[in-house]
């Protein structure tokens, strides 16, 4: 479903990886590993179409993601190093705007429920500026609950989370994969990934 063909990426004048081939079927979780600076983030951003590779291409359902453009992005959810939430808006506002932009038809009740599920009951309408680092991250992760995207691309989603939140997130990923979704993630922490079919990719020499 997601194919990577002969991918080569450079950063500055350094080649991070080249000739990378991959093919992921629905119901797979890909765990990308590698040292700091080995190019994990670059690979994930390339998969999303945020970074243009120097050679090779990424295909979704057999078509190049460049050509698919918006049709691909509709099925994609990316979670990067930055949370992507506005600190002046409340959790509710952040999530409903994000859902509206993603084109997910989400009601205000769904948003409240998602926040409650992720463990933020009582903090829904505080500006996220007033939340702790981990709580901010939870607001951002509540998007996973609301999303109906087929492909999740998660860059170090476990950092700054406490044990309980890690377990919750793992559950979400497992459900997503079990339901025929695809997930690509990186993490430095040792987190047992207990979901269906797990593929591993090691970057760097």
């Amino acid at each position: 479903m997601l194919e990577v063909i002969g991918l080569e990426c450079r950063r500055g004048d350094r080649r991070l990886f080249s000739g990378l081939d991959l093919a992921l079927e629905p119901g797979t979780l890909l765990h990308v590993r590698g040292r700091n600076g080995s190019g994990k983030t670059t690979l994930l951003r390339t998969l999303c179409g945020l970074f243009t590779p120097d050679a090779g291409e990424v295909r979704w359902r057999g078509e190049s993601i460049r050509a698919l453009a918006e049709d691909y992005r509709r099925e994609l959810l990316y979670f990067g190093h930055l949370n992507g939430i506005k600190s002046d808006l409340t959790g509710i506002e952040n999530l409903s705007i994000a859902a509206r932009l993603d084109g997910d038809p989400v009601g205000i009740d769904d948003v409240w429920q998602a926040l409650a599920r992720i463990g933020l009951r009582g903090f829904e309408d505080l500006p996220t500026r007033m939340l702790s680092q981990g709580q901010k991250k939870r607001v951002a992760l509540a998007r996973l609950i609301l999303s109906r995207a087929k492909l999740w691309v998660l860059d170090e989603p476990f950092t700054a989370l406490d044990v309980e939140a890690v377990a919750l997130l793992q559950g979400l990923i497992a459900d997503h994969v079990a339901g025929g979704g695809l997930a690509v993630l990186t993490t430095h922490q040792e987190v047992p990934l207990t979901s269906g079919q797990v593929a591993r990719l090691d970057l760097g020499d």
Partner: protein, 223 residues
């Protein structure tokens, strides 16, 4: 599709309401620059009348440019811009919405405060009217063109002054026709028509082309 446009527009207005000083700062900058000139040039009536249109427009140029520096910066720093690039909507539409909100917050206030400035420079009522009209047509162009520069210089060291180097030269046509309209309005109001319709044409061109260029620039800057 337009639902998304409104969503982004409302979001940016909401954010601005949560931080009102950012909006006021542009306005004050404009006022200060405009008020500096009489101090530097002298306060004779005739001189000021000649100067007025040009000074107002140059000040508008500078104010709009300085405010633009922050157009995408906040969204870039907290990662929401990245998320916007990944929505299932054409990026140029989102850019247009952001520029629209930006103009409502920084351009429109300049138009509204123009009469005050006109009085400082002893302009006639007709001139003030034309000034407001030309600003109304011209400032959106400034925001639209400036958005390209803002997108290109996103997250750079010394971005502010670099931005001005890049986009101030591109503002020249707006400046020429904007201040030209006010100047000829002294003689005959109907003379201003060609100027204003040219500004209108520029605005239409900028509305169609600038969002595309800004979107491309954003994609480059976010790689």
């Amino acid at each position: 599709m337009w639902a998304v446009f409104w969503c982004v527009l409302k979001r940016d207005l909401l954010l601005a309401m949560r931080r009102r000083t950012d909006v006021l700062t542009t306005l004050f900058f404009f006022m200060i620059v405009v008020s500096l000139f009489p101090l530097g040039v002298g306060t004779e009536r005739q001189v000021l009348q000649i100067l007025g249109p040009g000074v107002v427009w140059v000040a508008a140029l500078l104010a709009s440019m300085l405010a633009l520096e922050r157009l995408f910066a906040a969204d870039y720093e907290d990662g929401t811009l990245e998320q916007m690039l990944l929505t299932a909507q054409p990026l140029s539409l989102l850019v247009l919405a952001k520029v629209g909100a930006h103009w409502l917050l920084t351009g429109l206030p300049l138009v509204l405060i123009a009469p005050l400035v006109g009085m400082q420079y002893h302009l006639s009522d007709a001139q003030i009217g034309i000034m407001m009209l030309s600003l109304l047509l011209g400032t959106p162009i400034l925001s639209l063109i400036g958005a390209i520069g803002a997108a290109l210089t996103l997250g750079l060291r010394g971005g502010g002054i670099l931005l001005s180097l890049l986009i101030l030269p591109l503002y020249i046509p707006v400046l020429v026709y904007g201040s030209g309209a006010i100047e000829v309005s002294v003689i005959d109001l109907s003379d201003t028509m060609p100027y204003l319709s040219l500004l209108g044409a520029f605005l239409l061109a900028a509305l169609t082309l600038a969002p595309l260029a800004s979107a491309a620039a954003l994609k480059i800057s976010l790689e």
